[in-house]
Amino acid sequence: MSQSPTTDTLPPTAGDAAANAVQGIDQAAGNFSYKMDYAFDAGTGLTEDTIRYISSVKKEAPWILEFRLNALKQFRAKPMPTHWATKDLENINFDKIRYYLAQGQKPKRTWDEVPDDIKKTFERLGIPEQERKFLAGVEAQFDSEAAYSNVKDLVAKQGVIFLNSSEALREHPDLFRKFFGKVIPTGDNKFSALNSAVFSGGSFIYVPKGVKVSHPLQAYFRINAENFGQFERTLIIADEGAELTYMEGCTAPKFSTSTLHSAVVELVALKGAKIQYITVQNWANNVFNLVTKRGVAHEEAEIKWIDCNIGSRLTMKYPGVVLKGRKARGEVISIALANDGQHQDTGAKMIHAADETTSNIVAKSISVGQGRSTYRGVVHIPKHLKGCKNNTECDALLINTNSRTDTYPAITVRGDANSVQHEASVSKVSEEQIFYMQQRGLTEGQAMSLSVNGFVNDLATQFPMEYSVELKRLIDLEMEGSVG
């Protein structure tokens, strides 16, 4: 099975990228790569042998292997969802994807232990010196395995379990198994089945009763091998009254052939718990990013997804909340930015399953050049529930004449004791605003950038500081060359 280590990586390209004098942004910032050695490589293509290999490398219990093999069957049996989704999905060549790659190193604890290679990666990501300290408390996923983690020790004092999912399966099998695959069953969709078959990496977090986690837990993900798919699996459990914020950011080097990222993230908020899950996704423009994210909120619990999608060729991601207990609350805040060659197909699902549950969806998208952004949503309020409320707002901003946006919500309400409202609008940047700013000496590009940042500002401020700064930079970067 084990092939020789992958080698074809691209040289750094920072030198040939034109720096933006005004914004001070290196356009090649996300365009990095360097040589890697992999200790474990499952090769390309997906067979039962691939799965047996992954499972044996990870020294997994027999039930996990069985779970994976069953998932593979479901993955094969399920058709591509192209009766509603974009035909671009048919361009994924599952036989050319590497389903598992790892250096085989154990998760690291301190910054000093982090290999220089990985430090170099973060440097290339343009993370400022001051943030290095912060990064030391980061659970970073390097390709398939978590590279290091030390915030763990800090939160461990509060009784929090924060592991990568492989470790958790070994160390807390009973806790893991109790919740694993319960929020998102293997057969939920074709890609959740794929993830269930080949998952590796991702986080496992358990927050005990009443504990409010002092630090936001954070993970960086990246892809660094051609044709290599990343299939992390994250499971977060907040016990009664617990509170937690989790952040993930994704960066990836640009490669010439498509890669696939297909994660599954499950959240469980028990009675009165609060989980906030923040994502900034900036995959390279050849990545298919097909992610299933869902949480279950029990009585008076609250789950909030803050989801920002900037990169990838095609993202299909609809974070959901199943509002299972009375007075549970779900929220999705979504920002999507689609540039040339990109399709951001994002949205939210709110499944009300108890009385007095409330949900809120605010989605803003920006389409630049020939980019296409799509909002797709489900709001479901079944029979005989009382006092359920949903509010959905979708706003789309179109920058260029041939930019495209779509909205496809689906709302089902039963009974006369609930209320649902949905509103959407599509507009362009106000010419008057641009004109005003140009009067004040800004270039058209700067004015446009400012205006777009203003459009998402009320959502961006809900992000943690460093993320909203990163988001602003990314928008500046994307707006370059969109005018004139």
């Binding site: 009766h83 509603w84 389409s367 029979k383 005989h384 789309a396 179109l398 920058i399 260029n400 004449t401 041939n402 930019s403 495209r404 946006t405 779509d406 909205t407 496809y408 919500p409 689906a410 709302i411 089902t412 309400v413 039963r414 009974g415 006369d416 004791a417 609930n418 209320s419 649902v420 409202q421 949905h422 509103e423 959407a424 609008s425 599509v426 507009s427 362009k428």
Partner: protein, 450 residues
């Protein structure tokens, strides 16, 4: 009826609409030009080969597919004159046509002065002889892209007769033209059609009434084609009151040319399961369409409404408002889509769906969609589903109004937003009375306990 002549074809694909029925239909049509015969034959083939809607068809999402069986329906016998208990809609009219079981049974011609100016108000059968080219150019010229290809093909294959309206350049009709389409007798299958061609600068109002002459199980599969030429103003209102056992399909196709304004209002009250597809094309600058829908659903009725507003040219506008009131165990589906083509800058489009939930067992589904490919546009949509506003109800009750009366007032207020868009007061009143009649016939919504 028992066995299909082509055993290779599963009966469920054809139901009662067998090749024998099709042959009998062709034999029964008086005037059948070669082009029309060819189209009908091709359409029948298409109908026979297309599958019934499947659960995975996005265009049928949320619909109850088990209700769509075609079994048992027959080509109905002619209704003898005078055997139809026809009741007029109650508005002054410029002319009237009454069809029963696909055949003309009564008519009231337009005034001679209008006929002299070139107004044609007759049947499609007549028009095939007298205005063959016009019929050929406009009849079923815009196939519905909203998922009912099988049923629109069936309509083309079995369309026998319907209304043909031609309003020449600059002519304004003083009063509405009324058309009644009746179905009578058990298992009767009817295929109503109304074709309206309003030439440059003309103006007309057309009222279509779809009715059952008895409480039997009927099958209705109708279509209308509305063509509004440059600067024409066309109002089309339809009242669907089929029997409670009827399976109904109704397809609207509207074309608005430069500076044309088309208003359509569809009132849905009858049927067991009713599918309505409305497709509006804004083809040239200045075109405007207003698409209105009103539904009162009770018992176990299902109303499935799919709309499409396509902006194909710059500076066009459209406005859609569909309101549904749901009682008992009824179910509604609204699926709307605004499409703005890449060059259709300065489009202004609105799409609204409001569901008034009057029962704890009713189900409202909304799929308000947008597909925008131009940036200088203003497109918004909104969808809400909720019960009567408790504060408004409370206010009325503090004024001494009984709960049931307060609810009725507020419910009519809900409909009034749509009805008030009708410029013709008699039409407004007639439609309001139809809604009232349905509410009175339906069991009242249970009093809410507070």
């Amino acid at each position: 009826m028992s066995v299909s002549a082509s055993p290779s074809q599963p009966v469920s694909l054809l139901g009662g609409f067998t090749p024998e029925l099709f042959a009998a239909h062709l034999a029964g049509v008086a005037h059948l030009p070669a082009w029309w015969l060819d189209r009908k034959r091709a359409a029948y083939e298409r109908f026979a080969s297309l599958p019934l809607p499947k659960r995975t068809d996005e265009a049928w999402r949320f619909a109850t597919l088990t209700g769509l069986t075609l079994d048992g329906y027959v080509r109905p016998a002619a209704v003898p004159a005078g055997r139809l208990g026809h009741v007029p809609v109650g508005v002054a009219k410029s002319g009237r046509l009454v069809f029963a079981n696909n055949r003309l049974v009564a008519r009231e011609q337009v005034a001679a002065a209008l006929a002299e100016r070139g107004v044609v108000f007759g049947t499609i059968q007549e028009a095939l002889r007298t205005h063959g080219d016009l019929v050929k150019a406009h009849l079923l010229a815009q196939p519905s892209p909203l998922g009912s290809e099988k049923f629109t093909a069936l309509h083309t294959a079995l369309l026998e007769d319907g209304a043909f309206i031609y309003v020449p350049r600059g002519v304004e009709l003083p009063a509405p033209l009324a058309i009644y389409h009746y179905a009578q007798g058990a298992q009767s299958a009817v295929f109503p059609h109304t074709l309206v061609i309003a030439e440059e600068g003309s103006s007309a109002t057309v009222v279509d009434c779809f009715r059952s002459a008895d409480a039997q199980r009927h099958f209705a599969c109708g279509q209308n084609d509305l063509h509004a030429g440059h600067g024409a103003r066309l109002t089309y209102v339809a009242a669907q009151t089929w029997s409670r056992e009827t399976l109904s399909f109704q397809f609207n196709s509207t074309i608005a040319r430069r500076d044309a304004a088309v208003q359509s209002l569809n009132l849905h009250l009858g049927g067991r399961q009713s599918r309505h597809e409305s497709h509006s094309q804004l083809q040239a600058p200045g075109a405007h369409t207003e698409m209105l829908g009103l539904t009162v659903a009770h018992g176990t009725q299902e109303f499935d409404q799919r709309t499409l507003q396509i902006h194909q040219a710059p500076n066009t506008s459209s406005n859609l408002l569909y309101k549904n009131a749901l009682l008992d165990q009824s179910k509604t589906i609204f699926s709307g889509l605004i499409v703005v083509d890449p060059d259709a800058q300065k489009t202004d489009a609105y799409q609204g769906n409001r569901n008034l939930m009057l029962s704890d067992d009713a189900e409202a589904n909304s799929l308000p969609g947008l597909e925008i490919q131009a940036n200088d546009v203003r497109c918004t949509h909104g969808a809400t589903s909720s019960r009567i506003d408790p504060e408004q109800e409370f206010y009325l009750r503090t004024r001494g109004i009984r709960q049931a009366d307060a609810d009725e007032l507020l419910t009519f207020g809900f409909f009034e937003e749509v009805l008030s868009k009708l410029a013709s007061e008699p039409l407004h009143d007639a439609f309001r009375d139809l809604i009232k009649a349905k509410f009175r016939a339906a069991p009242r919504p249970a009093d809410h306990q507070h």
